[in-house]
């Protein structure tokens, strides 16, 4: 309860301590961020491998003896859940949120460092429990990443004995970890900003992470509630979600529950989750675009409002994932309307990114390539979302590859493009070394073109009626044989894209040792994380005194100023001006 932002300075001056306390049981937000990041990337590689196994079966059916219908469904389930929750959420919020929030708002650390450390170790526990489910009798759950009852816990579904329980326990632990981390992020943004860092001077990265964290604190409870109730249905014999079921010729003890109730709960979490992933990505891509186009972000206030409005609206669109559940048509109408409305603030953001690039001094660096690539993939994914948001179009397409193509473009490739942009952009600050540009450009083009080769044809497969989730096509004679050729082509592309990611991992490891020294501010960026006295920043971030903020985060190419960027912590009196009149006319 002490006033002032210098709180915490003293405890951060002490850089001593054993290796364990500095790098393992560390309470430094940067170390915790790297721990989150490395864990998320490793578990993400497992999910990538699972997707390659799925594609092998789809592209070349029945050629691989180790893939059977049960294991295929397990691959689908674990791939989906790991990618959405354990990779994207953890890396964007636990990784980048942890690293960037204190640095970008000028704080010395998170406001609760111990809780922050606890958050990571709890997350790691959730990952271990999830991975352990590969080794329990019956293997991991194969219920699909949405875990719909009743089939998720019924005999006959892969992993219905132990696998599903491990998944539910793991999700519960993850939510506890997220809550600890999330409270930290929100409180740090609200309470630990340095002098002069008003809310509207915060970089959009922080706005995105901030709003996404609040959304997570409100949405993850729905997953927790549904996980607890399904767990009880499975182990205690309750019937929250389980209707009366005949299984293998026998009447089970369950009766009267509603599977649709689970769907509502799941998607009340699931749709905000899309934006929990997307909003930090929106924020980070805005900062990368502005920095590498040497231009202030177009419509900063509108960008902030759009983030807040998208965050709010995302809680009233969930049932567009359930059009095929047999819901009341009036409900469908309501949710279709809200879904189309959310396209407005989203479109505003896309226009503003493009207008930021317009007449900018565009540097086609690796982060910029990924950021521009994101605009393409996001627009594609967004446009196909407009189709699926309409009930009459969604009904025939819902269970086809069109949906797989759509959500991978908007929810898979797009955030991953931003993650790559962000890693290439901030790696120099994290490590003090530049990533190799040549390898990076190869990584971008192979990933960008490769993912298009994977997901664009899926839309056509969807139009042909190729069903998703199927291990084999079976009696689907209406699908032409050429669809199989397309599937084989997608598989080859997917494996190429997967292998290329190893080049990225190699680049990370190689550059740590052999990369070019980055210096303090290699991109000549304005935001505070680039103004630290040390690179990588030391414990406590700012040396003796915290920075003072005099301007917003986007003073690039200010007319009349000598340099094409003015850092946030530089007062007007210290700016070298070549044309005073132009500088004054620019409002400076």
């Amino acid at each position: 309860m002490t006033a002032g932002v210098e709180v915490g300075q003293k405890e951060h001056e002490d850089h001593s301590g054993s290796f364990l306390t500095r790098y393992v049981w560390s309470q430094d937000h940067k170390v915790i961020a790297i721990q989150y990041g490395v864990t998320a990337i490793l578990v993400g590689l497992v999910a990538l491998l699972l997707s390659a196994l799925m594609r092998l079966q789809l592209g070349f059916p029945d050629q691989f003896s180790f893939i059977n219908p049960a294991s295929y469904l397990q691959f689908v389930t674990m791939h989906g859940m790991i990618m959405v929750v354990y990779l994207l959420t953890a890396l964007l919020l636990g990784g980048f949120g942890n690293y960037l929030i204190p640095l970008m708002v000028g704080a010395r650390d998170m406001v609760f460092p111990y809780l922050n450390m606890l958050s990571y170790w709890t997350y790691l526990l959730s990952v271990i429990v999830l991975m352990a489910s590969f080794f329990v009798p019956g293997g991991p759950t194969g219920a699909g990443w949405t875990l719909y009852p009743p089939q998720a816990i019924l005999p006959g579904t892969p992993g219905a004995e132990m696998g599903i329980l491990m998944m539910l326990i793991s999700l519960g632990i993850f939510i506890v970890a997220f809550t600890m981390g999330g409270l930290n992020y929100v409180c740090t943004v609200l309470q630990a900003r340095t002098r002069g860092m008003t809310l509207m001077r915060m970089p959009l990265t922080i706005w995105g992470i901030f709003v996404a964290t609040i959304m997570g604190l409100l949405a993850f409870p729905a997953l927790l509630v549904s996980a607890i109730m399904m767990f009880l249905d499975s182990v205690a014999g309750t019937s929250f979600f389980m209707p009366a079921v005949m299984s293998l010729g026998e009447q089970l003890d369950h009766s009267g529950g509603s599977p649709i109730l689970f769907q509502h709960l799941f998607w009340f979490f699931g749709h905000p989750e899309v934006y929990i992933v997307a909003l930090p990505a929106f924020g980070m891509v805005s900062d990368v675009l502005a920095t590498h186009a040497r231009k202030n972000i177009f419509g900063y206030r509108m960008m902030v409002w759009a983030i807040v409005i998208i965050g709010g609206l995302s809680f009233v669109v969930w049932a567009h994932h359930m059009y095929v559940s047999g819901m009341n048509p009036y409900f469908g109408f309501f949710f279709a309307t809200t879904t189309l409305i959310i396209a407005v603030p989203t479109a505003i953001k896309v226009y503003n990114w493009i207008l930021t690039l317009w007449r900018g001094n565009i540097h086609l660096t690796v982060p910029m390539l990924f950021a521009i690539g994101f605009i393409f993939t996001f627009v594609h994914g967004g446009l196909s979302g407009l189709f699926l948001g309409n009930v009459v179009i969604d009904l025939p397409l819902s269970d086809t590859y069109f949906v797989v193509g759509h959500f991978h473009m908007v929810m898979g490739v797009s955030p991953v493009m931003v993650l790559f942009a962000a890693i290439y952009h901030w790696f120099p600050k994290v490590s003090g070394k530049m990533l190799h540009t040549g390898l990076g450009k190869f990584h971008f083009w192979a990933t960008f073109l490769g993912t298009y080769a994977v997901y664009l044809p899926m839309h056509y497969l969807g139009f042909l009626g190729v069903p998703r989730r199927y291990y084999a096509m079976g009696g689907t004679d209406f699908i032409p044989e050429s669809a199989q050729s397309l599937n084989a082509s997608i598989t080859v592309s997917a494996i190429i894209v997967a292998v290329v990611q190893l080049i990225f991992v190699f680049n990370l490891i190689w550059s740590l040792r052999h990369g070019k020294a980055a210096g303090h501010n290699p991109w000549q960026a304005t935001t505070l994380e680039w103004q630290t006295p040390d690179t990588p920043p030391k414990h406590g971030n700012w040396g003796a005194t915290q920075p003072v903020v005099y301007r917003w985060a986007y003073d690039y190419s200010v007319p009349g100023a000598k340099d094409d960027f003015i850092p946030q912590n530089v007062p007007d009196s210290a700016v070298e001006v070549t044309d005073k009149l132009a500088f004054a006319e620019a409002g400076k």
Binding site: Q191, T238, S255, D555
Partner: protein, 232 residues
């Protein structure tokens, strides 16, 4: 500066030369624990709200039979639950008194009030467990019907949250024992009091819902759009 003024700020314009940038910010108390508690209570509210919503939805399916409303139903005369609620209320009042006493610099009295509050809260949890046993003995075990499911589930979730509160109060006792500064103790204690009041309100709402007859539950369900036995 209210939130609207903040959001309509024009951050690209320069601040007057020589002005302290801190003047642009609201002078606010640095008290992240309070902010965290507010957000945590928000999250917990969502958890309880969602459980209640699912209960209201589930109540419209034919096998749901409320636990109150008819003389033979166990919660029609919830005498024990009234006692339990009284304990929780007294516990909350006791903690509040401790805060008032701390502010009046009566540390010894405050210590006693905190201990009493802690014990009453613990007693509430034990008494709730007794209610579980009584219900099970009367044939309304956890899995006997959906209304029982929800009674046990909701009271358990509330109990778990209350256990967290007990741990927090224990840290206040530790601070009092160590004779830490009054400011530190008062700060921590006021958060515990807020949480304790919050958990009391949550319990009273749950108590009202769980002991409602079928007609009341049906009305609430209809108000929430659950009628006709579906979730569509």
């Amino acid at each position: 500066m209210n939130i609207w003024q903040k959001l309509t700020d024009k951050p690209w314009l320069a601040q007057p030369e020589g002005m302290d940038p801190a003047l642009l910010q609201n002078p606010q108390q640095y008290w992240p624990e309070r902010t965290a508690l507010r957000f945590f209570m928000l999250t917990a509210s969502v958890v309880f709200s969602l459980f209640v919503m699912t209960m209201l939805g589930r109540s419209q399916l034919p096998d749901f039979h409320a636990l109150a409303g008819e003389p033979w139903l166990p919660l029609s005369q919830p005498g024990q639950l009234w006692w339990n609620s009284g304990m929780l209320l007294l516990g909350s009042i006791s903690l509040h008194s401790a805060l008032v006493l701390m502010r009046r610099n009566k540390q010894q009295m405050a210590l006693i009030a905190v201990v009493v509050g802690w014990l009453l809260t613990l007693l509430f949890l034990v008494a709730q467990y007794q209610v579980w046993q009584q219900l099970a003995f009367a044939g309304f075990g956890f899995t006997s019907n959906p209304a029982s499911n929800y009674f046990y589930l909701l009271s358990a979730v509330h109990g778990v949250h209350l256990l967290g509160g007990l741990i927090a109060i224990s840290t206040v006792l530790h601070l009092l024992w160590q004779q830490q500064s009054a400011e530190t103790i008062t700060g921590r204690l006021s958060l515990c009091v807020t949480y304790s009041h919050f958990m009391l309100v949550v319990w009273l709402l749950l108590f009202a819902l769980l002991t409602s007859p079928a007609s009341t539950i049906d009305t609430l369900a209809a108000l929430c759009g659950f009628s006709g036995g579906g979730y569509d």
